[in-house]
Symmetry: C2
Subunit: 295 residues, 2 copies
Amino acid sequence: MNLAAYLESRRADVDRALESLLPVPEGPASRLAEAMRYSVLSGGKRLRPILALAACEAFGGDDAKILEPAAALELVHTYSLVHDDLPAMDDDDLRRGRPTAHKAFGEAEAILAGDALLTLAFEVLATRPAGSQRAGRRADAVALVARRAGQAGMVGGQLADLEAERRPPETAPPEWIHRHKTGALLSASVELGALHAGASPAEREAIARYGDALGLAFQIADDILDRTASAAALGKTPGKDERSGKATYPARLGVDASRREAERLLALALDSLPETLARRELLESLARYAVDRTH
Amino acid sequence: MNLAAYLESRRADVDRALESLLPVPEGPASRLAEAMRYSVLSGGKRLRPILALAACEAFGGDDAKILEPAAALELVHTYSLVHDDLPAMDDDDLRRGRPTAHKAFGEAEAILAGDALLTLAFEVLATRPAGSQRAGRRADAVALVARRAGQAGMVGGQLADLEAERRPPETAPPEWIHRHKTGALLSASVELGALHAGASPAEREAIARYGDALGLAFQIADDILDRTASAAALGKTPGKDERSGKATYPARLGVDASRREAERLLALALDSLPETLARRELLESLARYAVDRTH
């Protein structure tokens, strides 16, 4: 299959869904809507929504029906970036090649825009796709994303990551941080697609293992790129992890051994895919893509 | 009825539900769980959960079954307080008589604890009460709370409130700010109780009008207390609105006229209550309580 064409086509679908979901700036809270739109509509890869769409299609579901819940994953991802970039957190000025939300709109506005994006994500997950016969899946989708994005998942990982920088002796293992900070939402993405395709509990467990391995491989790739890529290619300031002494994979193992670890995780992800998939090659290509970015 | 005994008994029920819902501090993200517990388990009045329980009972529902979704409203309320207290927002040091979350745990921790509380609230709303026949109500509950708490509700109100302080000439009317910043979640509380009691759409509309009027009356009462009460009685620094020149009701109309406006809203709230209620006196007493606090 032509992965580049698939990614580009789905990215455009997701961007249209995001555009339609975001509030129009008007009234006394118009600057909040502006900050939300600015943060989301900034040309991201939309990897999480695409993983959800691909998983839905792979399990024989109709991915066109879940564009909006898939886009909700990007709202969650964007909120986490907006908050992570804040001065009290990673203190980043540049994101996707543009000033970060707090630089463009102010710190209070960035905090509130993140809050509103997270809240909107759950509204979308609870209401789309419409239809009373799908209410059970919508409630399950909210629960799934909330578990992966909350204290036991992404937010917990972000806190552990901050603590590791400040108190290295008490550091959580980098693998724990990666699995939570980045892996949890990537895993939720494929689980969400499988859920809406009507996958069985066993199938959802299998795809969650794929998502876990993929998420970890993806984060290792990101850490490697932070060492090897330019600011223009990254769209953000490179080398920050290295300067701040973060215990990333490349910092511990070196770049080459980290690449081998990513390859091992890729194999694990592919092994985890259930035999019953209607379209296996899509999820295989996406896993390879995550790792190949590092070369 | 004995309102004080009712409030105390329900407050204890809600506190037990909150205790059971909050994560146990352990593992690499234990400080996050600590900050969440510290912020929530601090002796609040639990007005929003109690309004949900009372509305459920008033519509003939079994309020014991919705303790956890009701408690989720307190998680949403607490997250909003934790974020509002941040240095970039209202910059408050004291809340419910104790150091605010960012003073006790650090700014990054407070941001993340707020994020995790909001996320946990939606997880709870999507999963409780259990049972597949209730999935539709759970999905509706998530959508309801998300709409009232998000950009078009509470978060939008908070942004407009901040802008009004910084750019008075472009100020949103105080009523708009109150309706959104405080009223939206109070209204969501009674709507949630009615929803889980199986109220009809018309009944839910009526109870939303009650909630809107009650919420506005409640905020006026809070603004009056900010002028007339002591720090010990408030559990936070009084007089901040006045010093910052906020366009509150008492600032515009004076304390006496504001009290009369709160009384007018109380009458409106009582008029909005549907005739069909199984237990009307509970919601009547609660509305009176909100306004009587100002005397």
